[in-house]
Amino acid sequence: MKVTIIRTLKIIAVLLPVLALIILDPGSTSGERNYLRDYYREEENTLDVVLLGASEVFTGFCAPKAYEDWGFTSYPYAISRNPVEFYRSQLEEIYRHQSPQLVVIEVTGLGWADQRANIDAVLRDYLGRIPMSMNRLRTAWTYGDREHLLSYFVPFMMYHNTVDLEEARKTISEELFFYKQGYSLLKCNTSSTAQEPFGTVLGMEAGSQLPLSEYSEETIRSLLEYCRERQFENLLFVVFPHRNTSEDVIDRGLRLRSAGELIESYGYDFINFDELHDELGLDYAADFYNDDHLNLYGKEKLTAYLSRMMVEEYGVKPTPLTGRTLNRWNYSQEYTRRYYAYFDKLYHEDPAHNYWFTEDEPLIRELRLWG
């Protein structure tokens, strides 16, 4: 008996560092790692609004600011290059954890002529950040490389050859920090002070449109059918603002008009913010950090506009918060305010420098101590 126990302990001692290594997720980029993970850290059924989409969403909407100004809670469920074809799976994730009054679905991706981005890379970013569930398994099976299915659940198998020891050390340190923190302060909020130079902004001809690509039409129809089947009524489809400086982007916009018609034919609302730049008060020079993404200042404007619309036109009512949830949101609001002030100050001290902020451990520590 004693021998068996000792042997068992020895086996565990050997396997423990190996398991720790396998659990390590070295492929994550520091800034975006926590975006989806932190969604699941929000207490269940405490979010009034969830926004679904790609990088336009987490650079364009500031949840703590919306909370500060309008009192409702929200969260951008977004990752870079998120393709619309993953939205079915992601809607299931959203509703598994929350009961939002409104889900805002950003659909710029439909406007491209063909399938964009490396779907597999985005799939790994997505699946590597959500909890284990049947939906996760099904999504890996449907969209993933079935010969390497395990690698969607053990990221180490994918990224082990690119692991940098220093990065790995930072990863572990940050994981522990965020785990201890327990929730996201910035709520999937990232932005930049940059204002990249740009070419001439082109306008879209009123009334004209281009047909969607076969792939996009199939994707959006599938999504809309799914939403209808699940009786999702509280959906708002949008296109976040872009700076249209090339023919490709104009064509994208023209296709998105067709997407809008199709969406509306299913009974859902569609708002194209690319047609509302004036109403938003966007300054092409000051409010975009590149053609596809708003910067710190543009984000404030869009957040303000969209939040007002959610409350006044879509009837979003702030759910009363209490106890720990209330404290966390208040703290997040205060923290974001400090974050904005800090970066605004940096920008004015050196406008030429691009300050890029994410939920970053050293800065969090610094700002807690600061002011």
Binding site: K10, V14, P17, L21, H148, S151, F156, H160, N161
Partner: protein, 538 residues
């Protein structure tokens, strides 16, 4: 399902669980048989036809021969007194003849399948080319043939058994299932080692109990195999494939580097795969011979072939070399030389004595070369190795004279190092044939290696072969580990047994480091095509 895949480990785990959970009073070998056939058919169900054909034909032939031999013994016993010596001799000769015909038929059938599948297209293509040069358009069809995985290994193994039954060294296996297990045993079917029936069979059929120490040693061996295969071999293969994919684009320095890298890659790949196989069978209480014994430490090409692919060497020695060397025609040739004028000289006496064996060696290596594949470069490989061995045996007395004249101490460490370096160089020449796409390119490689050395250009080319700086560092580190372990094995035998005597902390650090390094630096996962073990294609 390759040996280095997660699925294979899972498969072994499940087989192990089922095997050891079977009640002791039941035979456990059917579990291994079921697992073996499942494994093989998963690799490709088409291959199963050939495996079954070899298994059944060999089984039936062996049973028939044994029955014939037993009946013959009974008849001889019955006629002990009424037959004279001549009659008994004639009868025995007729039995031997009948057995011989059966053995020949089954050998022809099974080796015929192997030869046909492997070489038909080469012969057809060559025949078309040769006849075409004379204006004859035969147009022998080039067929779309597939080569069943491991066909060489299971054919050699089963034919070895058949010959052992023929020579009455072993009794024929009566149980078809047991024999099928011997032929198809999954850890070895894909790339060996080739086992002798008398050594492997009883281990396969006995019930073995789980033993923790044995399991631990097995896991260590499997880990070592994984390290060699995933960290060293598959990483080196990236660069080798880059060169072989565009052979004409590289200078002599790069080609030389590639051949050296190939020496590392081939050894790590093949020995890694064999270690995984040996580790897996050790879990089930079975011992398989080690196919490699630090081959690059050999001090002669002959010794190299006693250290490299040992089971293949054993097979050829037992079933081809000795029968050839001791055959009447070969020994007769030696006698003729001895009887001649040349044979009266000292050197002539030596040649007469060693010619049968040295020529038999040449033929064996010629066939080893041919066995490697349907390409003239492999023939050249075989001729090179066989020729060197033959010459070294024939010229041994002259060699001894030179050593004495130059006052070289053949037992000194320095001389031993020289011998190892010389042997390695000879082996590398053989590898040039192996790694080049064809015979012409291999000849060009020799020329370029001598005439087109440019270090600067070579370094630039080597850096563009798909390996990063990190990869080169890992390869260097892996090679150092491999050399260290090889030295330890050469000096002290089993490294695992040596480790057992070390304190737990030392063993723990080594094992955990091995696991982490393999997981961290192994070439596996999405983005990498799993590199098949080199000898799977045989």
């Amino acid at each position: 399902m390759t040996y280095t895949s997660f699925n294979f480990l899972l498969f072994v785990g499940v087989t192990m669980a089922v095997y050891f959970l079977m009640p002791k009073k039941w035979a456990r070998w059917p579990v291994l048989l079921a697992a073996s056939f499942y494994f093989y058919l998963l690799l490709g169900y088409r291959y199963g036809v050939f495996l079954v054909l070899t298994t059944v034909s060999t089984y039936l032939a062996a049973r028939w021969m044994e029955r014939l031999a037993k009946n013959a013994k009974l008849i001889l016993a019955q006629h002990k007194t009424d037959w004279d010596k001549e009659q008994k001799k004639t009868y025995k000769a007729s039995i031997k003849k009948r057995k011989g015909r059966m053995v020949t038929a089954v050998l022809v059938l099974n080796f015929g399948i192997l030869v046909f599948l492997k070489y038909y297209n080469l012969f057809a293509g060559s025949l078309n080319d040769v006849l075409g040069a004379f204006g004859i358009h035969l147009n022998a069809p080039i067929l779309r043939l597939f080569l069943p995985l491991g066909i060489s290994f299971y054919t050699f193994q089963s034919m070895g058994y058949l010959l052992d039954v023929y020579n009455e060294k072993v009794e024929a296996e009566k149980n078809l299932g047991k024999f099928a297990l011997f032929v198809s045993f999954f850890p070895q079917i894909v790339q060996g080692p080739i086992s002798i029936y008398s050594q492997l069979a009883h281990q396969l059929y006995e019930n073995h109990d789980f033993d923790f120490t044995r399991f631990k040693h097995a896991c260590e061996l499997i880990l070592w195999g994984f390290f060699k295969k995933l960290v060293i071999a598959d990483r080196a293969l990236i660069a080798i494939n880059a060169v072989t994919g565009d052979y004409g684009a590289y200078n002599g320095t790069t080609l030389t580097f590639t051949v050296l890298l190939y020496a590392l890659q081939l050894y790590a790949d093949f020995s890694g795969g064999v270690d995984i196989s040996r580790g897996v069978v050790q879990i089930f209480g079975i011992h398989m011979i080690d196919n490699f014994r630090q081959p690059y430490f050999a001090d002669s090409i002959s010794e190299y072939w006693h250290r490299w692919h040992i089971s293949l060497g054993e097979w050829f020695r037992t079933y081809l070399f000795y029968p050839l060397a001791m055959s009447k025609s070969f020994t007769g040739a030696g006698k003729k030389i001895r009887a001649s004028r040349f044979g009266q000289t000292e050197f002539g006496k030596h040649v007469a004595k060693v010619l049968p064996t040295s020529f038999a060696s040449f033929i064996v290596f010629f066939l080893v070369g041919v066995w490697h594949g349907p390409n003239w470069k492999y023939v050249a490989f075989g001729v090179w190795n066989g020729g060197i061995i033959m010459l070294s045996v024939l010229l041994k007395p002259l060699y001894a004279v030179w050593l004495e004249k130059l006052k070289i101490n053949a037992k000194s460490f320095g001389f031993r190092l020289f011998q190892m370096a010389r042997t390695f160089l000879i082996v590398l020449v053989g590898y040039v044939f192996d790694v080049a796409p064809n015979f012409t390119q291999s000849m060009k490689t020799f020329v370029l290696a001598i005439t087109n050395q440019n270090l600067q250009e070579g370094i630039t080319q080597i850096q563009s072969l798909g390996l990063t700086d990190r990869d080169f560092r890992v390869l260097l580190g892996g090679m150092l580990v491999l050399v260290t372990v090889s030295i330890l094995r050469e000096k002290w035998g089993s490294v695992r047994l040596m480790m057992d005597r070390k304190p737990f902390l030392v063993r723990y650090v080594v094992i955990v480091a091995g696991l982490i390094l393999t997981l961290w630096y192994g070439v596996y996962g999405p983005g990498y095509d799993p590199a098949d073990f080199v000898y799977m294609q045989f």
